[in-house]
C-alpha cells in the first residue's frame, strides 16, 4: 500500500515538473549557470525571525564565477496569510566585459570583466492563500535598491593602443520585483514542489525569472532545495545573456 502511495506521489510530482518545464520559453542566445544558496534562520518570537543568507552564482556555461553574496534579513508575520520582510545583501560581482564600437563599426574601447561590490537593500510583503487540496498560492512584492560604488577600471583604447584608467561612476537602481508562486505544500511531506514566475520592473519589465523545483525536508530543522531557473533578460543596459540556472539550496532553522 505504501509503495502504491509513493508511486502516485512520484508520478504526480514528475507530471508537475514536466508541465512546468515545458511551459518555459527557449532561447538560443543563452548561457548556463549554477546557483548555490545557503541560509540559516532563527525564530526570535512567534511572529519574528532573523536570518543569514549566502549565495554563489556562475555563468558562461558553468565556467566563470559570476557572483558571491552574503545577506541578513528580518521577517515579521503580520497575519496568518501576510508576511513582511526586509534585508541587506553585500554582493561581490564579476562585472561583464564591455566593448565599445565606433559608428563605423570598428572597435573603440574594451573594458575587461572585473570584480567589484554592490550593496542591496530590500523590503517585501508576501501574501499566501492555501487551497483545500494543499496547493498554496503566494504573491510577493519586493522593492529593492541596488548601489554600485564608483570605481576605477582599466580599459584598452584601440586607437591609442594602450591601457588607460577610467572612472566608472556610481550607479543606483530601483526595482519592483513581483513573484507569483504555486507550491504543493502538504504538511510533513518530504517534497514540496513549486513553480513560479518573477518579474523585475524598472521603468519597464527588465527581467523575468521562471522557477521550477522542489524543497526536500530532511528533518524538522533542515531542508534542501533543487530547482531550475530560466532568466529571460528583456531590457538590460549591460546586454546580459539569458540564463539557464541549475540551483541548489540548504536551509537550517534554529
Amino acid at each position: 500500500m505504501c509503495r502504491v502511495v509513493l508511486n502516485v506521489r512520484t508520478i504526480r510530482m514528475a507530471l508537475f515538473l514536466t508541465v512546468a518545464v515545458m511551459s518555459l520559453p527557449i532561447s538560443a542566445q543563452s548561457e548556463g549557470g549554477l546557483l548555490f544558496e545557503v541560509g540559516a534562520e532563527k525564530k526570535v518570537t512567534k511572529n519574528f525571525s532573523l536570518g543569514l543568507d549566502g549565495e554563489f552564482r556562475s555563468r558562461n556555461n558553468f565556467k566563470t564565477a559570476d557572483r558571491w553574496g552574503i545577506g541578513v534579513k528580518a521577517d515579521y508575520k503580520l497575519t496568518n496569510w501576510l508576511k513582511a520582510d526586509a534585508g541587506y545583501k553585500l554582493l561581490y560581482t564579476n562585472f561583464h566585459e564591455d566593448i565599445n564600437y565606433k559608428s563605423s563599426g570598428a572597435y573603440n574601447t574594451w573594458r575587461p570583466s572585473y570584480w567589484g561590490t554592490k550593496h542591496r537593500i530590500y523590503a517585501s510583503l508576501s501574501a499566501c492563500y492555501k487551497l483545500p487540496n494543499n496547493v498554496k498560492l503566494s504573491l510577493r512584492e519586493r522593492w529593492q535598491y541596488t548601489y554600485r560604488p564608483e570605481t576605477t577600471v582599466t580599459r584598452w583604447d584601440f586607437d591609442d593602443e594602450k591601457w588607460e584608467d577610467k572612472m566608472r561612476g556610481m550607479y543606483v537602481h530601483h526595482q519592483l520585483r513581483s513573484r507569483f508562486q504555486v507550491e504543493y505544500d502538504k504538511k510533513k511531506a518530504r517534497f514540496t514542489p513549486f513553480a513560479g514566475i518573477e518579474l523585475y520592473n524598472g521603468w519597464g519589465v527588465e527581467k523575468i525569472r521562471y522557477n521550477v523545483g522542489t524543497d526536500i525536508r530532511l528533518d524538522k530543522q533542515q531542508s534542501l532545495s533543487v530547482f531550475y531557473r530560466f532568466q529571460n533578460i528583456c531590457d538590460s543596459e549591460d546586454e546580459d545573456p539569458n540564463m539557464h540556472y541549475l540551483g541548489f539550496g540548504y536551509k537550517f532553522k534554529f
Partner: protein, 389 residues
C-alpha cells in the same frame, strides 16, 4: 536520507569543479599584446617582431612570390595559399601585395590575426571558386592602391570544398575597404563580396560590385559606409544590392545601386522574396553621403528593412519601376518605422506605395514620420519628397 544528503553534496562538489575561474572575455590579445610584439627582437625564432610584407605577382598560369621569409606561401599554378600557423598573439603583422593578372588563379589565406591585402593593379579570375577567400576570422583590410584598377571575378560553378566560399571576395572576418584605387568585383556564382562578419568602406576607394547570380554585398553583422564610391548592379531574381543580416549605417560616400531581378516564390517562407537595392534585417541609418537606388523587377524594392529606417542627412533617391504581379514594389519599406529628419529624401514608385512602414492606413501621411520643419514636404502615395536644404 543520508544518501540524499550525500548525493546532493556530490552534486555540489562536481558543480564546483566545473565552475573554474575561466574568464568569458573576448580574446583581444592580438591587440593588447601588440605593443610587446612590436618591441620584441625576434631572436627566439618566432616571427613576432617582424612585419611581413609579401609580394604576390600573378602571371597567367603562374605566380612569383617575394618576401615570404617564413615560408607561409604555397603556390600551385596560379592558386596561392597563405597559411600562417602562428597564434594571434605570436603572429606578425602581415601585408599581402597583389599585382599581375591570371585567368584561373586565386588567393586563400589561413591566419589567426588581422592582416592587410593591398590590391596593386591585380586581376584574378577563378573558374571554380572565390578569387580571394580569407578564412581568418579577424579583420581583413583591403586597400586599393592609389591610381590602380583591380578586377576580381569568379566562375558560375564552384568546386566543393570543406570551407565556406560565399562570393568572389569572401572573408570569414570583418572587411575594411580603403585606399584611393578602383576595384571591380563580379560574382557569377553567388555574391560579389561577402563577409561572415561586418563590412566597412572608408576613404575614397571606388568599388564596383556586380553579380549575375546573387547579392552585390552580403554581410552577416553589419554594413558601414563612411566614404568612397560604391556602385552595385545585381541582375538575379530576388537578389539584393546590399544584403545585411544586421544594421546598415551610411555616414558618407557616393552610392549607386540597381537591381533588375523579379521576385521569386520562397517555398520555405511560403511567400514571395523580392529583389531590393538594400535589404537590412537590422536598423537602417543614413546621416550623410548620397544614395541612389533603382529597382526595375517585379516587386522590387529600394530599401527593405525589418527594423526602423532613420534618415537624418545626406541625399537619398529611391525609385522602383517594376510591376506588382506577384509582390508589391516599394521604394522604401520598413516593418516598423520610417523617420525622416534631415537631408534630401525622395522615393518614387510606378505601382504600389512609395513608403511603407507597416501601416494599413490608406493615408500617405501615415506611411512615414517627418520630423522638424522641412523646406519641401510632398507626400503622396507614389511619390514622397522631403527636403531640409
Amino acid at each position: 536520507m543520508k544518501r540524499t544528503i550525500q548525493f546532493m553534496l556530490m552534486l555540489v562538489i562536481v558543480a564546483g569543479i566545473f565552475t573554474s575561474c575561466e574568464k568569458d572575455d573576448t580574446d583581444f590579445s592580438a591587440y593588447t599584446d601588440k605593443t610587446s610584439d612590436d618591441s620584441s627582437d625576434g631572436q627566439d625564432g618566432t616571427a613576432t617582431s617582424t612585419n611581413d610584407t609579401i609580394f604576390i605577382v600573378y602571371n597567367g598560369t603562374s605566380v612569383s612570390v617575394t618576401g615570404d621569409a617564413n615560408g607561409y606561401v604555397n603556390v600551385k599554378g596560379a592558386d596561392v595559399t597563405v597559411n600562417d600557423p602562428m597564434s594571434a598573439d605570436q603572429a606578425a603583422d602581415m601585408v599581402l601585395v597583389l599585382s599581375g593578372s591570371t585567368t584561373d588563379g586565386s588567393l586563400n589565406v589561413y591566419r589567426q590575426k588581422m592582416f592587410t591585402i593591398v590590391l596593386n593593379g591585380v586581376s584574378i579570375h577563378n573558374n571554380d571558386g572565390p578569387a580571394i577567400n580569407n578564412q581568418c576570422s579577424k579583420a581583413l583590410h583591403v586597400v586599393c592602391a592609389d591610381g590602380t584598377t583591380n578586377h576580381l571575378t569568379d566562375g558560375t560553378v564552384y568546386a566543393i570544398q570543406t570551407y565556406d566560399q560565399k562570393g568572389t571576395l569572401f572573408s570569414e572576418g570583418q572587411v575594411y575597404f580603403s585606399g584611393e584605387g578602383t576595384l571591380y568585383v563580379t560574382g557569377n556564382y553567388k555574391n560579389a563580396i561577402a563577409s561572415d562578419d561586418y563590412i566597412t568602406i572608408d576613404g575614397t576607394v571606388a568599388i564596383n560590385a556586380i553579380s549575375t547570380a546573387g547579392n552585390g554585398i552580403k554581410a552577416n553583422d553589419g554594413v558601414f559606409i563612411n566614404g568612397g564610391i560604391l556602385n552595385i548592379d545585381v541582375t538575379a531574381d530576388a537578389a539584393r544590392g546590399i544584403n545585411c543580416d544586421s544594421v546598415t549605417v551610411i555616414t558618407g560616400g557616393d552610392i549607386t545601386i540597381s537591381t533588375s531581378g523579379n521576385c521569386v516564390y520562397d517555398t520555405e517562407e511560403k511567400d514571395y522574396s523580392s529583389a531590393a537595392c538594400i535589404k537590412s534585417d537590422g536598423k537602417f541609418t543614413m546621416s550623410g553621403g548620397t544614395l541612389n537606388m533603382i529597382s526595375t523587377g517585379d516587386g522590387g524594392k529600394g530599401i527593405n528593412c525589418d527594423a526602423d529606417i532613420e534618415f537624418t542627412g545626406g541625399t537619398l533617391v529611391a525609385k522602383t519601376t517594376g510591376d506588382n504581379n506577384d509582390a508589391k514594389p516599394k521604394a522604401i519599406k520598413s516593418e516598423t518605422a520610417i523617420i525622416v529628419s534631415g537631408g534630401s529624401f525622395s522615393a518614387k514608385v510606378e505601382k504600389s506605395w512609395a513608403c511603407d512602414n507597416g501601416t494599413d492606413s490608406e493615408d500617405p501621411l501615415d506611411h512615414l514620420t517627418v520630423k522638424g520643419t522641412p523646406t519641401t514636404c510632398k507626400i503622396e502615395k507614389k511619390s514622397v519628397v522631403v527636403k531640409y536644404e
